[in-house]
Protein backbone atom coordinates (compact mmCIF):
# COMPACT_ATOMS: atom_id res chain seq x y z
CA UNK A 1 0.00 0.00 0.00
CA UNK A 2 3.00 2.31 0.35
CA UNK A 3 3.49 2.48 -3.38
CA UNK A 4 0.19 4.20 -4.03
CA UNK A 5 1.15 7.67 -5.24
CA UNK A 6 -0.28 10.31 -2.94
CA UNK A 7 -0.10 14.03 -3.64
CA UNK A 8 3.32 15.30 -2.66
CA UNK A 9 4.52 12.00 -1.22
CA UNK A 10 7.57 10.21 -2.49
CA UNK A 11 6.62 6.54 -2.85
CA UNK A 12 8.53 4.35 -0.42
CA UNK A 13 10.32 2.54 -3.24
CA UNK A 14 11.77 5.78 -4.64
CA UNK A 15 12.61 7.48 -1.35
CA UNK A 16 16.38 7.90 -0.96
CA UNK A 17 17.64 5.54 1.72
CA UNK A 18 20.10 6.66 4.31
CA UNK A 19 22.29 4.80 6.75
CA UNK A 20 23.99 6.42 9.72
CA UNK A 21 27.20 5.47 11.54
CA UNK A 22 27.92 6.76 15.01
CA UNK A 23 31.46 6.08 16.09
CA UNK A 24 33.65 6.82 19.08
CA UNK A 25 30.67 8.55 20.76
CA UNK A 26 31.49 10.04 24.13
CA UNK A 27 29.42 11.78 26.77
CA UNK A 28 30.53 13.15 30.12
CA UNK A 29 28.14 14.58 32.65
CA UNK A 30 29.57 16.61 35.54
CA UNK A 31 33.00 15.16 34.82
CA UNK A 32 31.73 11.55 35.01
CA UNK A 33 31.84 9.64 31.71
CA UNK A 34 28.37 8.23 30.90
CA UNK A 35 29.76 6.44 27.87
CA UNK A 36 33.03 6.45 25.97
CA UNK A 37 33.83 4.96 22.57
CA UNK A 38 30.29 3.85 21.77
CA UNK A 39 29.54 2.72 18.21
CA UNK A 40 26.15 2.25 16.56
CA UNK A 41 25.05 1.77 12.98
CA UNK A 42 21.57 2.53 11.69
CA UNK A 43 20.91 0.29 8.70
CA UNK A 44 19.01 1.79 5.75
CA UNK A 45 15.23 1.23 5.73
CA UNK A 46 15.38 -0.60 9.05
CA UNK A 47 14.05 0.22 12.50
CA UNK A 48 16.91 0.13 14.98
CA UNK A 49 15.84 -0.02 18.62
CA UNK A 50 18.11 1.18 21.38
CA UNK A 51 17.03 -0.35 24.65
CA UNK A 52 18.37 0.71 27.99
CA UNK A 53 17.51 1.80 31.54
CA UNK A 54 16.92 5.48 32.19
CA UNK A 55 19.95 7.65 32.78
CA UNK A 56 22.20 5.57 30.54
CA UNK A 57 22.59 8.38 27.99
CA UNK A 58 20.52 6.91 25.15
CA UNK A 59 18.34 10.01 24.83
CA UNK A 60 21.43 12.23 24.60
CA UNK A 61 22.83 9.95 21.90
CA UNK A 62 19.59 10.39 19.93
CA UNK A 63 19.69 14.14 20.48
CA UNK A 64 23.25 14.23 19.13
CA UNK A 65 22.08 12.52 15.94
CA UNK A 66 19.13 14.93 15.74
CA UNK A 67 21.46 17.90 16.00
CA UNK A 68 19.85 19.00 19.28
CA UNK A 69 22.91 18.24 21.44
CA UNK A 70 26.48 19.13 20.59
CA UNK A 71 28.44 15.86 20.01
CA UNK A 72 31.37 15.65 22.39
CA UNK A 73 34.72 15.06 20.65
CA UNK A 74 35.83 12.58 19.34
CA UNK A 75 32.22 11.56 18.47
CA UNK A 76 31.53 11.35 14.76
CA UNK A 77 28.07 10.99 13.27
CA UNK A 78 28.03 10.43 9.53
CA UNK A 79 25.46 9.46 6.93
CA UNK A 80 26.32 6.59 4.58
CA UNK A 81 26.23 8.91 1.55
CA UNK A 82 28.55 11.45 3.19
CA UNK A 83 25.97 14.25 2.99
CA UNK A 84 24.95 16.21 6.10
CA UNK A 85 22.09 14.78 8.15
CA UNK A 86 20.72 18.21 8.85
CA UNK A 87 17.21 18.62 7.35
CA UNK A 88 16.95 14.91 6.63
CA UNK A 89 15.57 13.93 10.03
CA UNK A 90 12.16 13.88 11.64
CA UNK A 91 11.99 13.88 15.44
CA UNK A 92 9.34 12.53 17.78
CA UNK A 93 9.54 12.86 21.55
CA UNK A 94 7.92 11.23 24.56
CA UNK A 95 5.55 14.20 24.95
CA UNK A 96 3.31 14.87 21.98
CA UNK A 97 4.55 18.50 21.82
CA UNK A 98 1.33 19.56 20.12
CA UNK A 99 0.64 23.29 20.13
CA UNK A 100 -2.53 23.83 22.18
CA UNK A 101 -3.71 26.78 20.09
CA UNK A 102 -3.68 24.84 16.79
CA UNK A 103 -6.15 22.16 15.75
CA UNK A 104 -4.98 18.67 14.79
CA UNK A 105 -4.63 19.56 11.10
CA UNK A 106 -2.58 22.69 11.74
CA UNK A 107 -0.38 20.77 14.16
CA UNK A 108 0.37 18.23 11.44
CA UNK A 109 1.18 21.14 9.11
CA UNK A 110 3.57 22.71 11.65
CA UNK A 111 6.78 21.89 9.73
CA UNK A 112 5.79 23.58 6.43
CA UNK A 113 4.36 26.50 8.40
CA UNK A 114 7.60 26.99 10.38
CA UNK A 115 9.65 26.90 7.19
CA UNK A 116 7.39 29.54 5.65
CA UNK A 117 6.17 27.22 2.88
CA UNK A 118 2.93 28.02 1.13
CA UNK A 119 0.23 25.69 2.40
CA UNK A 120 -0.83 24.36 -1.00
CA UNK A 121 -3.92 22.23 -1.50
CA UNK A 122 -1.64 19.22 -2.10
CA UNK A 123 0.10 19.76 1.23
CA UNK A 124 -3.21 20.04 3.10
CA UNK A 125 -4.53 16.97 1.30
CA UNK A 126 -1.45 15.03 2.42
CA UNK A 127 -1.90 16.14 6.02
CA UNK A 128 -5.56 15.08 5.94
CA UNK A 129 -4.55 11.75 4.45
CA UNK A 130 -1.97 11.18 7.20
CA UNK A 131 -4.54 12.05 9.87
CA UNK A 132 -6.91 9.54 8.32
CA UNK A 133 -4.16 6.89 8.30
CA UNK A 134 -3.52 7.36 12.02
CA UNK A 135 -7.26 6.89 12.56
CA UNK A 136 -8.30 10.47 13.26
CA UNK A 137 -10.65 11.09 10.39
CA UNK A 138 -13.26 13.65 11.44
CA UNK A 139 -11.12 15.00 14.29
CA UNK A 140 -9.02 17.32 12.07
CA UNK A 141 -10.40 20.48 13.61
CA UNK A 142 -10.23 19.44 17.25
CA UNK A 143 -7.70 21.16 19.44
CA UNK A 144 -5.29 18.93 21.45
CA UNK A 145 -7.24 19.59 24.66
CA UNK A 146 -10.23 17.76 23.12
CA UNK A 147 -8.14 14.66 22.29
CA UNK A 148 -7.07 11.78 24.52
CA UNK A 149 -3.39 11.07 25.22
CA UNK A 150 -3.35 8.30 22.61
CA UNK A 151 -5.05 10.47 19.99
CA UNK A 152 -2.59 13.28 20.68
CA UNK A 153 0.34 10.95 20.13
CA UNK A 154 -1.32 9.82 16.89
CA UNK A 155 -1.37 13.45 15.74
CA UNK A 156 2.32 13.69 16.72
CA UNK A 157 3.03 10.58 14.64
CA UNK A 158 1.23 12.12 11.66
CA UNK A 159 3.22 15.33 12.14
CA UNK A 160 6.47 13.33 12.19
CA UNK A 161 5.55 11.55 8.95
CA UNK A 162 4.38 14.80 7.35
CA UNK A 163 8.04 15.81 7.34
CA UNK A 164 8.65 12.86 4.99
CA UNK A 165 12.31 12.55 5.98
CA UNK A 166 14.48 9.48 5.29
CA UNK A 167 15.61 9.29 8.91
CA UNK A 168 13.11 9.20 11.80
CA UNK A 169 14.33 9.58 15.38
CA UNK A 170 11.91 8.58 18.14
CA UNK A 171 12.60 9.10 21.81
CA UNK A 172 10.33 6.83 23.89
CA UNK A 173 7.36 7.96 21.83
CA UNK A 174 4.81 5.64 23.44
CA UNK A 175 6.01 5.40 27.04
CA UNK A 176 3.44 7.85 28.42
CA UNK A 177 0.50 5.81 27.05
CA UNK A 178 -1.57 3.07 28.63
CA UNK A 179 -0.74 -0.52 27.64
CA UNK A 180 -3.51 -1.09 25.05
CA UNK A 181 -3.06 2.29 23.36
CA UNK A 182 0.69 1.66 23.29
CA UNK A 183 0.26 -1.69 21.49
CA UNK A 184 -2.06 -0.13 18.88
CA UNK A 185 0.29 2.77 18.23
CA UNK A 186 3.26 0.42 17.92
CA UNK A 187 1.44 -1.43 15.14
CA UNK A 188 0.59 1.84 13.43
CA UNK A 189 4.17 3.12 13.71
CA UNK A 190 5.65 -0.12 12.30
CA UNK A 191 3.34 0.12 9.32
CA UNK A 192 3.98 3.82 8.68
CA UNK A 193 7.74 3.69 9.22
CA UNK A 194 8.26 0.96 6.62
CA UNK A 195 10.90 2.01 4.10
CA UNK A 196 12.53 4.58 6.35
CA UNK A 197 15.61 4.42 8.49
CA UNK A 198 14.48 4.81 12.08
CA UNK A 199 16.04 4.92 15.52
CA UNK A 200 13.68 4.16 18.39
CA UNK A 201 14.95 4.75 21.90
CA UNK A 202 12.96 2.85 24.51
CA UNK A 203 13.18 1.18 27.91
CA UNK A 204 10.47 -1.35 27.07
CA UNK A 205 11.93 -4.72 25.83
CA UNK A 206 8.57 -5.78 24.36
CA UNK A 207 8.32 -2.55 22.35
CA UNK A 208 11.85 -3.00 21.01
CA UNK A 209 11.14 -6.62 20.00
CA UNK A 210 7.80 -5.82 18.34
CA UNK A 211 9.16 -2.94 16.28
CA UNK A 212 12.89 -3.40 15.76
CA UNK A 213 14.61 -5.03 12.82
CA UNK A 214 17.70 -4.69 14.99
CA UNK A 215 17.65 -4.38 18.77
CA UNK A 216 20.66 -3.09 20.71
CA UNK A 217 20.96 -3.05 24.49
CA UNK A 218 22.76 -0.12 26.08
CA UNK A 219 23.81 -0.72 29.70
CA UNK A 220 26.63 -0.29 32.17
CA UNK A 221 28.65 2.49 33.70
CA UNK A 222 30.15 3.77 31.52
CA UNK A 223 27.58 2.40 29.08
CA UNK A 224 28.32 0.16 26.15
CA UNK A 225 26.09 -0.90 23.27
CA UNK A 226 25.83 -4.65 22.72
CA UNK A 227 25.60 -6.50 19.37
CA UNK A 228 22.31 -6.36 17.50
CA UNK A 229 19.60 -8.90 18.20
CA UNK A 230 17.58 -9.56 15.07
CA UNK A 231 14.10 -10.91 15.87
CA UNK A 232 12.74 -13.06 13.01
CA UNK A 233 9.88 -11.83 10.81
CA UNK A 234 8.77 -8.36 9.81
CA UNK A 235 7.51 -5.84 12.39
CA UNK A 236 5.04 -5.35 13.97
CA UNK A 237 5.41 -8.74 15.64
CA UNK A 238 2.63 -10.22 17.76
CA UNK A 239 2.86 -9.79 21.52
CA UNK A 240 2.64 -13.58 21.99
CA UNK A 241 5.11 -14.43 19.20
CA UNK A 242 7.27 -17.23 20.76
CA UNK A 243 10.49 -15.68 19.41
CA UNK A 244 9.51 -12.31 20.90
CA UNK A 245 8.78 -13.91 24.26
CA UNK A 246 12.04 -15.88 24.31
CA UNK A 247 14.07 -12.85 23.35
CA UNK A 248 12.26 -10.67 25.88
CA UNK A 249 13.59 -12.91 28.65
CA UNK A 250 17.08 -12.65 27.16
CA UNK A 251 16.83 -8.83 26.91
CA UNK A 252 15.63 -8.51 30.50
CA UNK A 253 18.66 -10.58 31.57
CA UNK A 254 20.99 -8.31 29.61
CA UNK A 255 19.33 -5.19 31.01
CA UNK A 256 19.60 -6.44 34.58
CA UNK A 257 23.27 -7.44 34.32
Amino acid sequence: MHDIVRPGVIPASKRPLVSVSISAARLTYNGVPLFTDVNLRLEPAAITCLLGPSGVGKTTLLRMIAGLAEPEPPTTIAAGDGLPLHERIAYMAQQDLLLPWLDALDNVLLGPRLRGERLSAALVARALDLLARVGLEGREHDRPAALSGGQRQRVALARTLMEDRPLVLMDEPFSALDAITRLRLQELAAELLAGRTALLVTHDPLEALRLGHRVHVMTGKPATIGPALEPPGPPPRAVDDPAVLAMQAELLRRLAS
Binding site: R63, A66, G67, L68, E87, I89, A90, Y91, A93, Q95, L97, L99, P100, W101, L110, G111, R113, L114, R115, G116, R143, A145, E163
Partner: protein, 254 residues
Protein backbone atom coordinates in the same frame (compact mmCIF):
# COMPACT_ATOMS: atom_id res chain seq x y z
CA UNK B 1 -26.68 35.15 37.78
CA UNK B 2 -26.38 34.01 41.39
CA UNK B 3 -22.91 35.52 41.44
CA UNK B 4 -24.36 38.89 40.46
CA UNK B 5 -27.04 38.43 43.10
CA UNK B 6 -24.41 37.78 45.78
CA UNK B 7 -22.49 40.89 44.69
CA UNK B 8 -25.66 43.00 44.92
CA UNK B 9 -26.49 41.66 48.39
CA UNK B 10 -22.94 42.47 49.59
CA UNK B 11 -23.25 45.97 48.14
CA UNK B 12 -26.63 46.54 49.79
CA UNK B 13 -25.35 45.40 53.20
CA UNK B 14 -22.33 47.72 52.94
CA UNK B 15 -24.53 50.68 51.95
CA UNK B 16 -26.94 50.06 54.85
CA UNK B 17 -24.02 49.77 57.29
CA UNK B 18 -22.60 53.02 55.95
CA UNK B 19 -25.88 54.88 56.30
CA UNK B 20 -26.40 53.41 59.79
CA UNK B 21 -22.93 54.59 60.82
CA UNK B 22 -23.69 58.12 59.59
CA UNK B 23 -27.04 58.19 61.48
CA UNK B 24 -25.62 56.68 64.63
CA UNK B 25 -22.54 58.89 64.94
CA UNK B 26 -24.14 62.04 63.48
CA UNK B 27 -20.82 62.78 61.81
CA UNK B 28 -21.03 66.08 59.86
CA UNK B 29 -21.84 65.75 56.17
CA UNK B 30 -18.59 67.51 55.15
CA UNK B 31 -16.61 64.70 56.84
CA UNK B 32 -18.61 61.65 55.78
CA UNK B 33 -21.81 62.01 53.76
CA UNK B 34 -24.18 59.04 53.79
CA UNK B 35 -24.97 57.02 50.66
CA UNK B 36 -28.28 58.86 50.25
CA UNK B 37 -26.47 62.20 50.00
CA UNK B 38 -23.93 60.75 47.58
CA UNK B 39 -26.74 59.37 45.41
CA UNK B 40 -28.37 62.75 45.30
CA UNK B 41 -24.99 64.34 44.40
CA UNK B 42 -24.65 61.78 41.61
CA UNK B 43 -28.03 62.89 40.24
CA UNK B 44 -27.47 66.63 40.65
CA UNK B 45 -24.00 66.63 39.11
CA UNK B 46 -24.57 63.95 36.50
CA UNK B 47 -23.61 66.08 33.45
CA UNK B 48 -20.49 67.40 35.23
CA UNK B 49 -19.44 63.89 36.33
CA UNK B 50 -20.02 62.53 32.85
CA UNK B 51 -17.96 65.28 31.23
CA UNK B 52 -14.98 64.82 33.54
CA UNK B 53 -15.43 61.05 33.58
CA UNK B 54 -15.13 60.89 29.79
CA UNK B 55 -11.85 62.85 29.95
CA UNK B 56 -10.39 60.40 32.48
CA UNK B 57 -11.72 57.40 30.57
CA UNK B 58 -10.10 58.72 27.39
CA UNK B 59 -6.77 59.09 29.19
CA UNK B 60 -7.00 55.57 30.60
CA UNK B 61 -7.90 53.99 27.25
CA UNK B 62 -5.20 55.83 25.30
CA UNK B 63 -2.64 54.98 27.98
CA UNK B 64 -3.73 51.35 27.84
CA UNK B 65 -3.37 51.13 24.06
CA UNK B 66 -0.01 52.92 24.02
CA UNK B 67 1.37 51.07 27.05
CA UNK B 68 0.37 47.64 25.74
CA UNK B 69 1.76 48.42 22.27
CA UNK B 70 5.07 49.75 23.61
CA UNK B 71 5.39 46.96 26.18
CA UNK B 72 4.72 44.26 23.56
CA UNK B 73 7.26 45.80 21.20
CA UNK B 74 9.90 46.07 23.92
CA UNK B 75 9.39 42.48 25.10
CA UNK B 76 9.69 41.16 21.53
CA UNK B 77 12.93 43.09 20.97
CA UNK B 78 14.33 41.99 24.34
CA UNK B 79 13.45 38.35 23.68
CA UNK B 80 14.86 38.19 20.15
CA UNK B 81 17.95 40.43 20.26
CA UNK B 82 20.64 39.33 22.68
CA UNK B 83 22.49 42.67 22.60
CA UNK B 84 19.28 44.53 23.45
CA UNK B 85 18.68 42.17 26.35
CA UNK B 86 22.18 42.71 27.75
CA UNK B 87 22.13 46.51 27.46
CA UNK B 88 18.50 47.36 28.12
CA UNK B 89 17.40 44.86 30.80
CA UNK B 90 19.38 46.55 33.62
CA UNK B 91 18.09 49.92 32.45
CA UNK B 92 14.52 48.64 32.50
CA UNK B 93 14.88 47.22 36.01
CA UNK B 94 16.57 50.33 37.40
CA UNK B 95 14.00 52.61 35.77
CA UNK B 96 11.31 50.77 37.71
CA UNK B 97 13.05 51.55 41.00
CA UNK B 98 12.10 55.19 40.44
CA UNK B 99 8.49 55.66 41.58
CA UNK B 100 6.66 56.67 38.41
CA UNK B 101 4.48 59.04 40.44
CA UNK B 102 7.56 61.14 41.26
CA UNK B 103 7.77 61.86 37.52
CA UNK B 104 4.25 63.28 37.34
CA UNK B 105 5.23 66.94 37.95
CA UNK B 106 7.95 66.63 35.30
CA UNK B 107 5.51 65.18 32.79
CA UNK B 108 3.10 68.03 33.43
CA UNK B 109 5.96 70.49 32.96
CA UNK B 110 7.02 68.88 29.68
CA UNK B 111 3.67 67.91 28.19
CA UNK B 112 1.39 70.60 29.65
CA UNK B 113 -1.83 70.58 31.62
CA UNK B 114 -3.80 68.80 28.89
CA UNK B 115 -4.45 65.12 28.33
CA UNK B 116 -0.99 64.32 26.95
CA UNK B 117 0.75 64.32 30.34
CA UNK B 118 -1.94 62.05 31.85
CA UNK B 119 -1.81 59.66 28.91
CA UNK B 120 1.98 59.55 29.31
CA UNK B 121 1.59 58.85 33.01
CA UNK B 122 -0.89 56.00 32.41
CA UNK B 123 1.37 54.63 29.66
CA UNK B 124 4.35 54.56 32.02
CA UNK B 125 2.37 52.76 34.71
CA UNK B 126 1.13 50.16 32.19
CA UNK B 127 4.37 49.67 30.27
CA UNK B 128 6.33 47.74 32.90
CA UNK B 129 3.82 45.01 33.85
CA UNK B 130 3.13 44.35 30.17
CA UNK B 131 6.81 44.21 29.21
CA UNK B 132 7.86 41.93 32.06
CA UNK B 133 4.86 39.60 31.69
CA UNK B 134 5.36 39.10 27.97
CA UNK B 135 9.16 38.89 28.20
CA UNK B 136 8.82 36.28 30.92
CA UNK B 137 6.33 34.35 28.79
CA UNK B 138 8.64 34.48 25.77
CA UNK B 139 11.51 33.06 27.82
CA UNK B 140 9.47 30.17 29.15
CA UNK B 141 8.64 28.45 25.88
CA UNK B 142 8.37 24.69 26.30
CA UNK B 143 11.92 23.49 25.35
CA UNK B 144 10.48 20.49 23.50
CA UNK B 145 8.66 22.80 21.07
CA UNK B 146 11.91 24.61 20.31
CA UNK B 147 13.67 21.25 19.73
CA UNK B 148 10.92 20.31 17.32
CA UNK B 149 11.23 23.66 15.52
CA UNK B 150 14.99 23.13 15.15
CA UNK B 151 14.61 19.67 13.63
CA UNK B 152 11.98 21.10 11.28
CA UNK B 153 14.43 23.72 10.04
CA UNK B 154 12.65 26.79 11.42
CA UNK B 155 14.46 30.13 11.56
CA UNK B 156 14.64 32.06 14.84
CA UNK B 157 12.17 34.66 13.59
CA UNK B 158 9.77 31.95 12.46
CA UNK B 159 10.01 30.15 15.81
CA UNK B 160 9.37 33.45 17.60
CA UNK B 161 6.33 34.21 15.50
CA UNK B 162 4.76 30.75 15.28
CA UNK B 163 5.76 29.26 18.64
CA UNK B 164 7.11 31.61 21.26
CA UNK B 165 4.70 34.50 20.77
CA UNK B 166 1.46 32.46 20.71
CA UNK B 167 2.76 30.42 23.66
CA UNK B 168 3.40 33.66 25.58
CA UNK B 169 -0.03 35.16 24.89
CA UNK B 170 -1.56 33.90 28.18
CA UNK B 171 1.35 35.58 30.01
CA UNK B 172 0.75 38.76 28.03
CA UNK B 173 -2.93 38.53 28.93
CA UNK B 174 -2.17 38.48 32.65
CA UNK B 175 0.14 41.46 32.13
CA UNK B 176 -2.67 43.32 30.38
CA UNK B 177 -5.07 42.44 33.21
CA UNK B 178 -2.67 43.94 35.77
CA UNK B 179 -2.17 46.95 33.49
CA UNK B 180 -5.92 47.49 33.24
CA UNK B 181 -6.19 47.47 37.01
CA UNK B 182 -3.41 50.04 37.52
CA UNK B 183 -4.15 52.28 34.51
CA UNK B 184 -6.69 54.51 36.38
CA UNK B 185 -4.07 55.21 39.08
CA UNK B 186 -1.74 56.71 36.47
CA UNK B 187 -4.42 58.94 35.01
CA UNK B 188 -5.69 60.16 38.41
CA UNK B 189 -2.20 60.94 39.76
CA UNK B 190 -1.51 62.88 36.57
CA UNK B 191 -4.70 64.88 37.10
CA UNK B 192 -3.89 65.58 40.73
CA UNK B 193 -0.55 67.09 39.86
CA UNK B 194 -1.96 69.57 37.39
CA UNK B 195 -5.00 69.64 35.16
CA UNK B 196 -8.22 71.44 34.38
CA UNK B 197 -10.40 68.42 33.62
CA UNK B 198 -10.95 64.80 34.64
CA UNK B 199 -12.27 62.99 37.70
CA UNK B 200 -9.03 63.50 39.62
CA UNK B 201 -9.30 67.25 39.06
CA UNK B 202 -12.97 67.20 40.07
CA UNK B 203 -12.16 65.31 43.28
CA UNK B 204 -9.44 67.76 44.34
CA UNK B 205 -11.70 70.67 43.49
CA UNK B 206 -14.64 69.23 45.46
CA UNK B 207 -12.40 68.38 48.40
CA UNK B 208 -11.09 71.92 48.63
CA UNK B 209 -14.65 73.25 48.69
CA UNK B 210 -15.87 70.74 51.27
CA UNK B 211 -18.19 69.15 48.67
CA UNK B 212 -17.41 65.74 50.04
CA UNK B 213 -20.61 64.27 48.59
CA UNK B 214 -19.40 65.25 45.10
CA UNK B 215 -15.98 63.74 45.88
CA UNK B 216 -17.62 60.44 46.79
CA UNK B 217 -19.77 60.61 43.65
CA UNK B 218 -16.65 61.11 41.50
CA UNK B 219 -14.99 58.20 43.31
CA UNK B 220 -18.04 56.04 42.58
CA UNK B 221 -17.91 56.91 38.86
CA UNK B 222 -14.18 56.14 38.77
CA UNK B 223 -14.73 52.80 40.49
CA UNK B 224 -17.55 51.92 38.09
CA UNK B 225 -15.29 52.72 35.11
CA UNK B 226 -12.41 50.68 36.51
CA UNK B 227 -14.55 47.61 37.24
CA UNK B 228 -16.33 47.76 33.86
CA UNK B 229 -13.04 48.21 32.00
CA UNK B 230 -11.46 45.27 33.83
CA UNK B 231 -14.45 43.02 33.17
CA UNK B 232 -14.48 44.02 29.48
CA UNK B 233 -10.74 43.39 29.02
CA UNK B 234 -10.97 40.08 30.90
CA UNK B 235 -13.87 38.88 28.74
CA UNK B 236 -12.08 39.99 25.57
CA UNK B 237 -8.88 38.14 26.54
CA UNK B 238 -10.82 34.97 27.36
CA UNK B 239 -12.54 35.06 23.99
CA UNK B 240 -9.23 35.67 22.23
CA UNK B 241 -7.45 32.74 23.92
CA UNK B 242 -10.00 29.90 24.06
CA UNK B 243 -7.23 27.27 24.20
CA UNK B 244 -5.86 28.68 27.40
CA UNK B 245 -6.25 26.30 30.34
CA UNK B 246 -9.05 27.57 32.54
CA UNK B 247 -7.48 29.83 35.13
CA UNK B 248 -10.62 29.61 37.24
CA UNK B 249 -10.41 25.88 37.80
CA UNK B 250 -10.23 26.41 41.56
CA UNK B 251 -13.10 28.83 41.66
CA UNK B 252 -16.31 27.55 43.17
CA UNK B 253 -19.03 26.75 40.70
CA UNK B 254 -22.21 28.77 41.00
Amino acid sequence: MTRLFRALVTLAVLLIAWQALVWATEVPRYILPGPLLVTSALQRHAPLLLQHGLTTLGEILMGLVLGVALGTGSALVLASVRTARRWLMPLLVVSQAIPVFALAPLLVLWLGYGMASKVAMATLVIYFPVTTALFDGLRRTEPGWLDLARTMGASNVSALWHLRLPAALPALASGVRVATAVAPIGAIIGEWVGSSAGLGYLMLHANARMQVDLLFAALFVLGAFAVTLYAAVDTLLRRALPWQPDTHAFEERD
